[in-house]
Amino acid sequence: MSSLAGRLRAIPTWQVTLFVALLALGFLVAAQARSEAPRVRYTTQERAPLVETVVGLQAQQDALKAQILDLRSRITASEEGTVGSTQQVRDLNAALLAARVAAGIVALEGPGIVLQLEDSQVSVPAGAAATDYRVSARDLQAVVEELWLAGAEAISINGERIVPTAAIVDIGGSVLVNSAYLAPPYQVAAIGPGDLYGVLAASPGFVDLVRARVDPFGIRISSAQPKTVTVPAYAGSVTLRYARPPAPSPTPAP
């Protein structure tokens, strides 16, 4: 019984199994605890109907967006089949497609990068603001602006296209873009030249962002360079209630 082999044999197999299981348990508990920080999970009973309402409204919104995209493609098809002077119609349709592409209501694909921003995994020290440890609308706005300055030609965040009217605002620790609710991790997809990431990473604004948010608070920023990046079409309102062409119009639209 003095040899190691003998001692090992003396340990019952159930103890070994239990040991392995407990080890796995420990890992999972740790993983669970880590994934909780720094966000607090609310588990009170009265929240359940609220969460259900939100989920329902989001499903409605997704359906409405799909309906809008479908209607737009049917309108485009109908317009292309418009009767009249064929050359005139062809010119108008070409101008419409160009305007729609410029407006961001057509999906684009091309070379580019995807940046991912995630909340910090650092547990919030006593007395510190929990919001500092989460990705904020300001962080996303800064990333989007640095991408534009670095030469991006189209950007989306979690599928929401950045259009001329796109506001990025905080809402209770998450973010609204184009009034759509987005939750972390935030994936910022940008179509741009091959050196987009290099230019971005070297820009003073991006360096400042890393210095202000990544180093002190542990906000996580990672990047990927897939073969093609897809930036979806904007599926919201292109309706104008106040804006008109300046009158008198010196040159009517062609």
């Binding site: 019952p12 966000r39 309906q67 684009l108 091309g110 189209a154 506001a167 809402i171 009034s179």
Partner: protein
Amino acid sequence: MRQPRSQIALALVALLLGLLVVVQLRAQQAGTGLETQSSQDLTLLIANLTTRNDQLRGDAADLQRQLAALDTARAGGETSLGQLRSDLERVRLWAGIDAASGSGIRVLVLGGVSARAISDLVNELRNAGAEAISVGGVRVVAGTVAAGPPGALSIENTALGARIEVLAIGNPASLTGALTRAGGIVAQIQATNDEAQVEVTPLDGVVVPATERALVPTLGKPRP
């Protein structure tokens, strides 16, 4: 004696293990972030989603009418060139390809503010429903960004100087209200910069120029 007890212990551990695996997987899958929102935030979110969905419903109805009108015109053998033209005009205005005019506000920003202040101001105007915006005579489209050190800002290669005029087309009352509310963007700019002065004036007629930016992508291809 030992054998049954060990089995009970193992069964308990296995039960806990299974539970934790499921919880962990769910937490990673769900990813809606909703479980981390307070009741107050959820209520705010519901209000936002409801407004947005109403808007989208209106948009869908508009598009439906547009499509119906197009189809009717086609069926009757009429020309719908007029509809194509008005559609084109609307999209070009919205995208910033053409100049726009309408009611709105003028915001004068004085005192060498930061690029971030201008960016926050534009974001607030967008959030308040501005339909067209210009900064220092430059139309703000998706990719228009103010940059540079405070007092020496530039936007699309145009120097902004110490007196920055921001114009926005939209509902003058809601735009003014959004900017000048307590704790709003005007208060924030003035709180972070002692010399900053921000004047907001509602106007009946505002003219915002067309963008000079090339909006046609050279790398991105339209996806069918």
